[in-house]
């Protein structure tokens, strides 16, 4: 399902007081997708969102909305709405008036304002809360008001800036599902900013991984997780064992002092590469059966699995396994060809 491009950023450069924040960022966002901008704090993801929303004017580069250049268009003339990080509800207005705010500005008839606001409050599960003071609501409820206030204007695109950051874990999980449900039922584009990789993988159609003002990788959650482009992505998305290696020839790579069969090809002869192995992809086997052997240094129970740190020659490995080994035990490690991801060495 390849929808048309709704937002296109081209070579966006943003500086704050001479500090580069976005360094020539280009990105296409497709209609009706749930797109997540993911990265550590300071990577430029929120700035990218603010460029899309019109709150930050790029130093150079262009923003297109449905094919039209809107780079210089102020926020109040854009067909997007935002859910802000700490909700930014208007404290002097009650729940209903917060939601109705945008509609009142459009000078719609009172009846329509009422119908649409109530409908939206019902969608976010806040029916009956119209007259409440926003300060008297819980964090999750304020969140819902912020979403309703943005969505009631029927934006083509909804921007969400770390909207779940202030909520506790349980509530966050609930809201993740809720947001996904809302996005699907309204069939509009969501652009979502977060630093939580799990959140990104759970909700998104497309994940955009960012670091240091540039895009590292764009892809489906599966792509990003299974085929990270570089060490940064591999490291940021889930836990990884990242090692230096040498590509001996197609389908054969050497790392940790051993040769391994792999599924990658097309590298130059004896190219120095980086190898990623996910902790859950390493099988623990008796020492004599393993391709590698190592000593278990510690074991941590993580609920679903055990996390083990294993020292092998000069490398420390992280292994996730449903069965615990003993600390000090010598174990074998087996890694299948499918579980090895080869990346060109990143310059970073």
């Amino acid at each position: 399902m390849e929808n048309s491009v709704i937002f296109a950023l081209q070579n966006i450069v943003v500086d704050f007081d001479g500090e580069p924040v976005l360094t020539g960022l280009s990105l296409d966002i497709h209609d009706k997708e749930f797109v997540t901008l993911l990265g550590p704090s300071g990577c430029g993801k929120t700035t990218t969102l603010r460029v899309i929303g019109g709150f930050v004017e790029p130093k150079s580069g262009n923003v297109f909305f449905a094919g039209k250049d809107i780079t210089r268009l102020p926020p109040y003339q854009r067909q997007v709405n935002t859910v802000f990080q700490k909700y930014a509800l208007f404290p002097h207005l009650n729940v209903y008036e917060n939601v109705a705010f945008g509609l009142r500005l459009q000078k719609l008839p009172e009846k329509e304002i009422r119908a649409r606001s109530l409908e939206m409050l019902e969608l976010v599960g806040l029916k009956g809360y119209e007259r409440r003071n926003t300060a008297a609501l819980s964090g999750g409820q304020q969140q819902r008001v912020a979403i309703a206030r943005a969505l009631v204007n029927h934006p083509r695109v909804l921007l969400l800036d770390e909207p779940l950051g202030a909520l506790d874990l349980k509530l966050r999980k609930e809201m993740q599902i809720e947001l996904k449900r809302i996005q699907q039922s309204l069939d509009i584009t969501f652009i979502y900013v977060t630093h939580d990789q799990e959140e990104a993988l759970t909700m998104s159609d497309t994940v955009v991984v960012m670091n240091k003002g540039a895009i590292q990788q764009i892809g489906s959650p599966q792509d990003i997780y299974n085929e990270p482009n570089n060490a940064f992505v591999a490291d940021f998305i889930g836990e990884s064992n990242i090692l230096d290696g040498v590509m001996l020839r197609d389908f054969l790579v050497e790392f940790a002092g051993q040769e391994f069969a792999c599924v990658d090809a097309g590298f130059s002869e004896r190219e120095i590469v980086q190898v990623v192995v996910r902790p859950e992809d390493i099988r623990v086997v008796p020492a004599i059966q393993g391709q590698l052997t190592g000593i278990v240094e510690n074991v941590i129970f993580k609920g679903v699995h055990y996390e083990m740190h294993v020292r092998q020659a000069g490398t420390e490995w992280i292994i996730h396994s449903t069965q615990a080994s003993q600390v000090g035990e010598l174990i074998g490690m087996a890694i299948g060809p499918d579980e090895i991801h080869i990346m060109h060495r990143s310059n970073g």
Binding site: F55, V56, P74, P75
Partner: protein
């Protein structure tokens, strides 16, 4: 940064004009008058001529300092006790303490005038026991009393504000560690209240040293203060703007000196407002 945010700096421009014309310029004019003679020539004579009024300056400083000290001694226990009350009671008591401040200080001072005069209530009351009449009004004691009465709430308020933040457990901890009441006071309570004490001192000392009404109404003609001298130069019989300006400059210098001892930074000043 949306473009509007930069433009809004201009909202301050009417005020900047006002501030220059009516805060900065008047002070510049005072300085100019202080260092010129009647013909507008530069001179230090106004400043050096103040030597003749040394006793008045000394009296002002002594009386204001005495009033400040008395206020501190009275306000400290009151503020502490206030800060240990239940919050609902605190609110009520605080309001009651501030209420007299809402009366114009002329009326408050006038009240003392009628209490202290020769055939006033206090002397009549003492007369019932065959005492007096005492010479109460038109003394420096009456002036200090007037200052204390008028400015005591200025000492209580900052002290209370800071003491309310002192957790009772801190005091209990000190007692637990073996401090007696005196030690608790000198080692815990006073050090922790220091910012309030300094603010309070400024807030009482500055109006006390510059008053001219309290001294006139309660001190008679014999207890002139700096404020009275200045007033005489501008609206009284002496009528000498240059000398009056020189006195004002010295008064400002005293106040600044006092504040440089007591006020550490602007944040505290903001709290005073």
């Amino acid at each position: 940064m949306t473009p509007m945010k930069k433009k809004t700096v201009w909202a301050a421009s009417p005020y900047l004009v006002w501030m220059t014309a009516f805060i900065a310029a008047p002070l510049a004019i005072v300085l100019y008058f202080a260092f010129t003679d009647k013909a507008g020539r530069f001179t230090l004579a106004n400043i050096t001529g103040l030597g003749a009024y040394t006793t008045v300056f000394a009296r002002s400083i002594v009386l204001a300092a005495a009033a400040t000290a008395i206020c501190l001694v009275l306000a400290f226990p009151v503020s502490y006790l206030l800060s240990r009350l239940r919050p609902a009671n605190q609110r009520m008591m605080q309001m009651l303490l501030m209420l007299p401040m809402w009366m114009n200080f002329l009326l408050r001072t006038y009240a003392w005038m009628s209490l202290l005069e020769m055939n006033g209530i206090i002397n009549r009351f003492l007369g019932l026991f065959g005492v007096g009449p005492l010479h109460l009004i038109n003394t420096s004691g009456a002036v200090v009393l007037g200052m204390v009465y008028n400015y005591l709430p200025y000492m209580i308020l900052p002290l209370y504000t800071i003491m309310v933040k002192i957790d009772s457990s801190v005091i209990e901890a000190a007692q637990d560690l073996g401090a007696n009441a005196f030690r608790v006071l000198t080692r815990v309570l006073i050090p922790l209240s220091m910012p309030g004490i300094t603010t309070g001192i400024t807030m009482v000392f500055v109006p006390s040293i510059s008053t001219f009404i309290i001294s006139r109404m309660l001190g008679g003609g014999s207890n002139l203060l700096i404020g009275d001298l200045i007033e005489l130069q501008f609206l009284g019989n002496s009528y000498n703007y240059n000398l009056g300006s020189a006195m004002s400059v010295v008064l400002m210098a005293i106040v600044l000196l006092c504040m440089s001892f007591t006020t550490a930074d602007t944040e505290e000043m903001e709290a005073m407002v």
